[in-house]
Subunit: 346 residues, 3 copies
Amino acid sequence: MSHTLGQLAAKVQGVVKGDSDLLIKKLGTLKDATECELSFLANSKYQNQLASSSAGAVLVKTEALAQLVENAIVVSNPYLAFAQLSHLFVPPVQCWSGVHPSAVISPKATIADGVVVGPNVVIDDDVNIAEGCAIGAGCVIGRGVKIGKGTRLYPNVTFYHDVVVGEACIFHSSAVIGADGFGFAPKEGGWEKIDQLGSVVIGDNVEIGASTTIDRGAIENTLIGHGVKIDNQVQIAHNVVIGDNTAIAASTAIAGSTKIGSFCTVSGGVCIAGHLTLADNVHITGMSMISNSIAEAGSYSSGMGMEPTAKWRRTVARVRRIDDMAKQFLQLKQQVNKFLEKVDNK
Amino acid sequence: MSHTLGQLAAKVQGVVKGDSDLLIKKLGTLKDATECELSFLANSKYQNQLASSSAGAVLVKTEALAQLVENAIVVSNPYLAFAQLSHLFVPPVQCWSGVHPSAVISPKATIADGVVVGPNVVIDDDVNIAEGCAIGAGCVIGRGVKIGKGTRLYPNVTFYHDVVVGEACIFHSSAVIGADGFGFAPKEGGWEKIDQLGSVVIGDNVEIGASTTIDRGAIENTLIGHGVKIDNQVQIAHNVVIGDNTAIAASTAIAGSTKIGSFCTVSGGVCIAGHLTLADNVHITGMSMISNSIAEAGSYSSGMGMEPTAKWRRTVARVRRIDDMAKQFLQLKQQVNKFLEKVDNK
Amino acid sequence: MSHTLGQLAAKVQGVVKGDSDLLIKKLGTLKDATECELSFLANSKYQNQLASSSAGAVLVKTEALAQLVENAIVVSNPYLAFAQLSHLFVPPVQCWSGVHPSAVISPKATIADGVVVGPNVVIDDDVNIAEGCAIGAGCVIGRGVKIGKGTRLYPNVTFYHDVVVGEACIFHSSAVIGADGFGFAPKEGGWEKIDQLGSVVIGDNVEIGASTTIDRGAIENTLIGHGVKIDNQVQIAHNVVIGDNTAIAASTAIAGSTKIGSFCTVSGGVCIAGHLTLADNVHITGMSMISNSIAEAGSYSSGMGMEPTAKWRRTVARVRRIDDMAKQFLQLKQQVNKFLEKVDNK
């Protein structure tokens, strides 16, 4: 996995300053990189680390910055270039190739040539897996699932029946796609299950984090657009629709039938209620509670940050009585105004 | 999976208006259903969709509503009827039947005739699985587990040893039942594990969502009542007790030894502290923080909904100083009252 | 699993009062224990249960307390002693021993003698598992993983490649260690994945709960110290560092690159933002939102507890207008003060 600085520069349409033949074996941070490592400066805040860095070379934005180090690649977007180059340094993920003999594959499934199917994978009837896919050990692929080209499932992922997945997606371990939405009709003495007859349809270039769950729709499908990135432990309920290129951080939950626009970012720990609509380009900060639709692009927040517990107790006690305080305040204000009016009129 | 309108009406004690022989192949929404689909009108808010719907037939509450469409089933509770009919339209979940040869089953386990055991299932000593159960691929059933009639486990569920499950339950993928409760005694330089010697006992007609975890008790058992419905990614800690027919939405966490009554509903993203007692018929709205017991039935809430981030910053800054503001307010009020008293006394 | 009271006392350096030969078969609570069970009194709040308890014997702190029951072990820390004795009453977790024939193990892996490898386990190239380990059914261990002595993985755990784990750790089912951190560079029309080239390094005596996810680092490693205890459904993002003996309760999420000190406790449902530093001995109460670093040891909190929904609505409405109220208050105060000054000056 070694590349010369010149080769790396070519991959990102950058210009080498210094030794084009320098051999780069790893990527590293400015702070810790060694002489065979390439680092990057994406945020001018860290510019003072350039001089002291032991990195063999650095991705930088300008020639002026390049002159502060021995070897550099000048490129318009060093962070994006770093991301692109990261693909060259990924070690092999698993040793298996082809279809492992322990996999249990229905004779009615269609698996393209060259697909990697790991040990103990289970693939049910009428599944269709396109070329270039890799299915990790222990994954279970339900009846009728379709998976597009070049998609990777890490081990122990579960797809329920009839889920449809696009090309070049990544699913991390323990993700569960297509479990039943949480739908019950109240009845005398309990709940009647509403069987969930829709499915989940996922676009291209989607990444789904470890232990994330995306439920199948009640009648229609749950829909995840192209380029959507979802972190770990996220819950997507039935009939949610997520627009293209929206990114959702860990431990967020989105309730049923909510529609989220394109190019949104949702931070971690957020809860979004059901049956809402969020516009495109909405950004939600961490741990917010979203109980109303959002019609305009922009940043939205809720929640109070922490205080020392003793001070927090006083704050909470006051907030609980805020309605009372507001009423008393109004009364006082009226009293004062009335008095001042009287005085003025004298 | 086709049924005539007459057959469907008979299943729900409904009355057909229109063509009893109409063949229904699917269920659909009023908005999108086609002529071979049955839809429903459960909420009068959507009544205006009746006229424009292309649904072949609609479940409605009254004859007056039935007259607005060509074919209908009149039934006292259309939503419940829809739920009941949904069971007739479920496609086959998996192609396996009987015990798959790849399953690893202890000779000391007892599996009733006709139980479906999927590929790569692992069943330990002294497990007892009653008739009509289906165990999905990759499930691991620990030593001594008992599972009642007609219960289904979707793939990759894990039951630790000695868990007891009732009849007609559903467990979704990646659920983990019976892992150790989080119990440690502080000691010099760290923590001493308290081995968790209780188990988990689950009633009949319970549904447990994907990636939900229910811990085994420390000494006594964790108890889940009959008819309880738990959504995805819910955490139930050791020694929690949940009353019959309580429903808990996704991403909620319930801390140790808390007792929740019957017929409660807990929305998503809620956290309930440990050692509390919640009465029957308590309803908790989404993302609430419950740190005290609740003795009376009713609806309870906490948390602030979102605001545009700039406005939220001002709100938060003010709330952090509310204790100070309240003190100043009190002072001003006393000042004013004293002055007004003085004036009055003149 | 029976032990005499004398044997148990010796294990915890305690002194028997009563019958040393009494046979103890189980541990129990004061309230429910029977005559063959040992209970404990750790909290003086429950002292009144001593007299009425049917426990065969009780762990107590003083001789005075021992005199209230027939049989006792007097020990300086009854709760710790109870934890230590709990280890003696754990039933066998699984019936497998040795390496199960269904396990798929790379010939390039090194498994110490006596390691238990359950059914359907998958172990990739260059894995090294030390003596005394037990790997539960269905676990998948990625290429190059190292696992120290005496560590146990419950079923269906996934380790990605190159994860390093210390000695005497416990991983509960569906935990995922080493999945990709959530890293993307924005680009025209979407996101470029940043391949996550670091790994996860975990110390000794660590316990990781069911469905907990710990992501691999972007460049450097994610680091979990010795003696760390993490509950279920916790999300640890890339490059987080957790100090020794810190305990983190369920459903908490910690965002990328945050450093948490040693001997901290984080309650359930907490969200901690990225790139923060928390000092040693910091304690966070349940469901707090931590968006700033914490430099001093102590207890920190945020969030409002629940109120009846109708009252909560009024509170929320007032808090939303608090900025306005504060401004009006300031105005009134100035008005009053100005007037009073004028009056005083007359």
